[in-house]
């Protein structure tokens, strides 16, 4: 096992603590040997006879990919089946989402780790060719908010997000913010502008890494990214977080207020949520097996600790597909509202 991780006991203890504070009581299924036995009983005959393909629609090495590989690893631990991650990239996720919705076989050998970014693709870019409803969620993985950061050497290093919004109101178009066009990064900034009357200069980038480069080189004033992308810079004090887009303050960035706090609102919440899904129509017994395997993986305290290190938050309360579907339905409703209000969706 990896020598740079702390000892198993410490990990489990820390994981339990995190789970208790963040997600509620751990369910009985999280106890490792019981879970393995239960899953073994659910295993259908002659299945799986080949590796299960875990699809990720983003490039290898990125945030989604890392989460997926961790989930796959723990799935393997609980089921003994082989799970291989496959990156189906292209079009900012559109190519992979379309394939999953339209072409993926519902035979139990194809699963996907997807994020709520699929809703935007489904509602705005699919143009009727497919819908996110074609994919059935089976296990929740984690979620995280987006962090807004400024350079520690830049002109805004001592400003709060509130100050920056005021600046953007006073001098519209002078505060440069990095965004990923067509994603929640862009919508987040747009909503902030709407509710505050500020006007930012939105500079498009292709990913978190280029926007961090731009921020460090003083080519933008505020950059948006996930915790995993900024952690190293925070540790070395090159970047300062000014806000987070989640409902509550992030445990890893305690000093950064939420967007709601800075703006005096309660509706500016943007999170990336990740879960495991299968194409609709998988035979019930195989689906139950996959559900049990991935749920057990997600509930595993060690995996929770790994997620914690990546800056994401698990939630052991969402331990059945029904609860997950309900939660995601709520997210879809909020997003649809936003798109309708901003005229993107008729």
């Amino acid at each position: 096992m990896n020598s740079s991780l702390p000892s198993r006991r410490t990990v489990v203890a820390a994981g339990m603590a995190a789970v208790l504070t963040l997600g509620g009581w751990p369910s009985a299924e999280a106890q490792s040997p019981d879970a393995k036995a239960r899953i073994a009983r659910l295993k259908p005959k002659d299945y799986p006879s080949e590796p299960i393909e875990v699809n990720v629609v983003y490039p290898a090495g990125g945030g989604m990919d890392i989460n997926a590989r961790l989930a796959a690893r723990y799935f393997e631990k609980y089921t003994g089946a082989q799970a291989i991650v496959n990156n189906r990239t292209g079009g900012g996720g559109l190519v992979g989402h379309t394939w999953l919705a339209n072409q993926a076989a519902a035979d139990g050998y194809t699963v996907a780790v997807i994020a709520n970014l699929i809703f935007a693709d489904s509602m705005l870019r699919a143009q009727g060719r497919w819908s996110h409803e074609k994919l059935e969620p089976i296990a929740f993985l984690n979620s995280e908010g987006i962090s807004l950061v400024v350079s520690a050497d830049g002109p805004h290093k001592d400003r709060s997000f509130k100050d920056l919004v005021e600046l953007a109101k006073a001098k519209p178009g002078t505060i440069r913010v990095s965004i990923l066009p067509g994603t929640i990064f862009e919508y987040l900034v747009e909503q902030v502008e709407q509710v505050s009357g500020a006007k930012f200069l939105k500079v498009p980038f292709q990913g978190g890494a280029p926007s961090m480069t731009a921020l460090l080189g003083n080519n933008v004033d505020i950059a948006l990214g996930f915790y995993g992308e900024i952690r190293s810079f925070l540790d070395s004090r090159k970047l300062v977080p000014v806000a987070v887009s989640s409902q509550e303050r992030s445990p890893f960035l305690a000093q950064a207020p939420t967007l709601n706090e800075s703006l005096g609102r309660s509706d500016v919440v943007w999170m990336a949520t990740r879960w495991v899904a299968v194409p609709r129509g998988v035979p019930a017994d195989r689906k139950a097996y996959l559900t049990a395997g991935f749920t057990a993986a997600a509930q595993d305290p060690e995996l929770q600790e790994e997620f914690r290190k990546l800056g994401t938050v698990g939630n052991t309360a969402l331990d059945t597909p029904e609860k997950l579907t309900r939660q995601l339905g709520e997210l879809v409703r909020l997003e649809r509202d936003f798109y309708t209000r901003t005229g993107r969706l008729k």
Binding site: A60, R88, V203, A214, S232
Partner: protein, 506 residues
């Protein structure tokens, strides 16, 4: 010196049997991937990444990195032997490398590619060892305007690379820009030229284009003729480069190392651009550029050195800043993060053993690859004796498998076929393929950075003259264009060629 201390520490980390073993495996697999057309380092690394979960961080990254630069060593093999590039970064090696093979000099070409790669890789690593922090600062200075100017320089080099008809070459460059814009607009996300197809919305995969344009079309062109058995009927001379070869190659190797190093540090540059620009540079600097395209060894030494150098320097933004410059380094970053090592400014202090261990492993890996590849030259050269009847079917099969393996996407296979036919037709009409490929590589970043710069800029195009680095790069482009223009003008002064005596029409 601190860097030297760190490096020695790293060497002590890497010099364990386990770590050396994984470094060797990586080199071996990397060479294999490079040799096989179609399958590239990205596909292979993502396949083998899970293997590294149970290894230590140093062993994991040592193995994965060795696969990356190992592929640069192996990529030239099929380029030289059968005119089919193993990687996008080995496309230019086809131009002169294969011509050398046809003249019985495959051994010299392969040997020089391996040795040049080693020298460049090692030099690049030395610079990395001592100048990382400084270079990291330079990488940060590159914002959208600088990228735009750099890509413009690349475009100028592309135009300079055109050998035959200038008009046809420009058309190929324009066509490259067209193919690059198929997909989603990177700046506002709208679909461009996709005609409702989601497959096209994902853009056109570079690997499929390269394999189609150079691989499939090569086979199509060759089967036109019935009367050919082997690629080289004449005796194969000289397994290794001669003294004369060295005399001509040592400067291109050094220049390629330097150029590749600089282009690798900048996120968005990389081995492909480096190899093309090195080729253009060598051709421009040669005293008799007419030799290029007919077996000039500089055309192999320079680009092969440049692509290896770029791989090494590409590690700088990754390790020192935590900023991956291309898809492969992004994957390496993921591998590090999963191991619990966060690359970035704190890595040198928090995980010094991993930091220096990885760098030391690259020195070791380069030596291993040289030792691996040089004796293989003799083996590869024998491949030239294999009849087309056996070689080409295998190559076609490998092309199909390799292209599919990149994205597991059937659409890529259709792209490969389409470009195979297009490449065949265009080559018959004497259009060059290299400018198309280079334009395809440069266009996305050129367009994106141009539009980003204009969005960022308070005064429109003024942003390009406000920033010193941008001005410097633009001046360089202007200088190159000027030098070529002057060259063309002075050539016009020479007397026009004699008109032909009228020959009787048969």
């Amino acid at each position: 010196m601190e860097a030297l201390q760190g490096l020695l520490g790293g060497l002590s980390v890497i010099m364990t049997p386990a770590n050396l073993y994984y470094c060797f495996i990586g080199s071996l697999v990397g060479t294999l991937i490079g040799v096989l057309p179609g399958i590239g380092p990205l596909a292979a690394l993502s396949l083998l990444m899970p293997v590294t979960f149970t290894l230590s961080p140093v062993a994991s990254i040592a193995m994965l990195a060795a696969m990356f630069y190992g592929a640069m060593y192996g990529g030239s093999t099929t380029s030289i032997l059968v005119n089919i590039p193993g990687e996008a970064a080995s496309v230019v090696t086809c131009l002169d490398g294969h011509q050398m093979a046809r003249r019985g000099r495959a051994g010299a070409a392969l040997g020089m590619a391996a040795i040049g790669s080693f020298i460049a890789g090692t030099l690049s690593l030395v610079a990395l060892t001592f100048f990382s922090p400084l270079l990291a600062g330079v990488a940060l200075r590159f914002g959208p305007p600088e990228y735009c100017a750099l890509m413009l320089l690349g475009l100028v080099c592309t135009v300079l690379m055109i050998e035959g008809s200038a008009i046809k070459g420009v058309m190929m460059i324009a066509l490259g820009f067209v193919f690059a814009s198929i997909g989603l607009d990177s700046v506002n996300g709208t679909e461009r030229l996709t005609f409702g197809s989601t497959d096209l919305a994902g853009g056109i995969e570079l690997v499929a284009v390269v394999i189609g344009l150079f691989g499939v079309s090569e086979v199509l062109i060759n089967i036109e003729q019935l009367a050919r058995n082997e690629i080289v009927a004449t005796r194969i001379r000289n397994i290794l480069p001669t003294v004369e070869d060295w005399r001509m190659s040592w400067k291109p190797i050094l220049r390629g190392s330097g150029l590749g190093f600089l282009l690798g540090v900048v996120p968005g540059g990389g081995p492909v651009t480096a190899s093309f620009m090195s080729y253009a540079l060598e051709r421009r600097l040669a005293s008799d550029p007419g030799r290029f395209g007919h077996g000039a060894i500089e055309g192999v030494a320079g680009p092969e050195s440049a692509n290896n150098s770029a791989v090494a320097s590409g590690m700088i933004p990754l390790l020192t800043l935590g900023l991956p410059g291309n898809a492969v380094t992004a994957l390496l970053m993921g591998a590090l993060v999963i191991q619990g090592v966060q690359p970035g400014p704190s890595m040198m202090t928090e995980h010094a053993d991993v930091f220096w261990g990885v760098i030391a492993s690259m020195y070791v890996g380069n030596v291993m690859l040289l030792v691996l590849n040089l004796p293989l030259v003799g083996l590869w050269v024998q491949l030239l004796r294999v009849p087309y009847a056996i070689l080409f079917p295998v190559i076609l099969l490998l092309a199909v498998v390799g292209t599919y393996s990149t994205n597991k996407n059937f659409f890529d296979l259709w792209v490969m076929l389409a470009f195979g036919v297009v490449g065949y037709v265009l080559r018959k009409f004497r259009y060059e393929m290299s400018p198309l490929v280079l334009a395809l590589v440069l266009a996305p970043l050129l367009e994106q950075s141009l539009r980003q710069s204009l969005v960022m800029s308070p005064d429109g195009f003024g942003i390009f003259v406000d920033r010193p680095l941008t001005v410097g790069l633009l001046a360089l482009s202007a200088l190159l264009v000027g030098a070529v223009a002057i060259g063309r003008l002075t050539r016009r002064q020479r007397p026009a060629p004699l008109a032909h005596p009228q020959l009787k029409e048969t």
